[in-house]
């Protein structure tokens, strides 16, 4: 795996004075720095930047709408309480993602393991997408959402996490490695196995 493609995180700006390439300021980091100095509005702005995404990710990680709010609030509360120790060794997004994964895993441990969905059959819009056609209506997208949630719940937890981070959150392999505290080389192989399991499940459910 090449190293150059991994550096696609921070965009660069040309310095006006010396023509040097300076990393563009990370707005998340700016907000977190202000929050660390006691500015609650900055932390609220940070939450609002990630709120929609994290509610969606939590939905796919825990698989129950009723528990999504709890997991997301616990995630942001943990971030609020521990932001003083954030040392910017990873991006704020990666740091928050790691906290979300921990809380989703805690949620899974605190509840009895549910059996993979038996007799699940993919909806027509999901089948259409897997056959290369588009899902157009909001209703169709909602059916796809429920199918994907059920299929992700059937995956092994480690596979589910890596699929969510890559496919849904769009993290790079390096960011996934940081969020899961894994060696960078392990991410590619785990993601490969996760996608194989996902394909198998989708076929099992009629995709």
């Amino acid at each position: 795996m090449g190293s150059c493609s991994l550096n696609k995180g921070a965009p660069v700006l040309a310095s006006a004075d010396h023509g040097e390439q300076l990393p563009a300021p990370d707005p998340d980091l700016e907000l977190l720095r202000r929050a660390q100095r006691g500015d609650d509005t900055a932390f609220e702005e940070l939450m609002s930047r990630y709120s929609d995404l994290f509610h969606a990710l939590a939905f796919f990680l825990v698989g129950r709408s009723s528990d999504v709010e709890d997991v997301v609030q616990e995630t942001f509360l943990a971030a609020y309480e521990s932001m003083g120790s954030f040392k910017a060794r990873s991006t704020v997004k990666t740091w928050l993602s790691a906290i979300l994964l921990n809380h989703a895993a805690l949620y899974h441990r605190s509840r009895r393991r549910r059996e993979p969905a038996q007799g699940l059959s993919l909806s027509e819009p999901s089948r259409a997408l897997l056959n290369g056609n588009a899902a157009s209506s909001p209703l169709a997208a909602s059916e796809v959402k429920m199918d994907v949630m059920a299929v992700l719940q059937a995956l092994q937890p480690a596979h589910r996490e890596v699929v969510v981070l890559r496919e849904l959150q769009g993290l790079s392999y390096q960011e996934i490695a940081a969020a899961l505290n894994l060696p960078a080389g392990t991410v590619e192989s785990r993601l490969f196995r996760a996608r194989q399991e996902l394909k198998t499940r989708l076929r099992e459910y009629g995709g």
């Binding site: 609220e44 609030q73 509360l77 309480e81 909602s142 993601l191 996902l198 989708l202």
Partner: protein, 140 residues
């Protein structure tokens, strides 16, 4: 999956290959039906997941604020305190019940009948001030 290149179709799709590795894979794809199918399947799966994500992002949810987080923290601590208090009362209650309900055992009887007990009791009574003994009705 027979072709060894198939395993890297995911990395190709994710943009995680270097320019040279990408060029090699793209050239390989021209003549490998298996890898082409694999890549196509991954793309469709990716599309399925992104449609699901978009739908989930639009689901309504509560507005988050710092005061809400602080309330949650307070609630968490009050739950912990309530649990600790109920544990304390449960343990102390069961200890009290056990002590109060303990039957008069043969050990107690043996102790009272022994030579030591009356002496100890008399020592304790004698050690009380005579005026106090009078007040308590222990002495005429």
């Amino acid at each position: 999956m027979g072709c060894p290149h198939c395993q890297q179709m995911g990395a190709l799709l994710d943009g995680e290959l270097s320019a040279s590795e990408r060029a090699v894979k793209e050239a390989h794809l021209q003549g490998c039906f298996e890898c082409t199918l694999e890549l196509q399947e991954l793309q469709r799966m990716s599309r399925l997941l992104s449609v699901a994500l978009e739908a989930a992002r639009h689901a309504p949810h509560a507005h988050l604020s710092c005061s809400r987080l602080r309330q949650r923290r307070l609630l968490r601590w009050s739950k912990v305190l309530a649990f600790a208090a109920s544990l304390f009362f449960a343990v102390s209650g069961s200890l009290l019940l056990e002590t109060g309900a303990r039957p008069y055992s043969s050990t107690d009887i043996a102790w009272e009948q022994s030579a030591v007990a009356p002496q100890l009791l008399s020592v304790r009574i004698d050690s009380i001030d005579p005026v106090a003994q009078k007040l308590l009705g222990m002495r005429p």
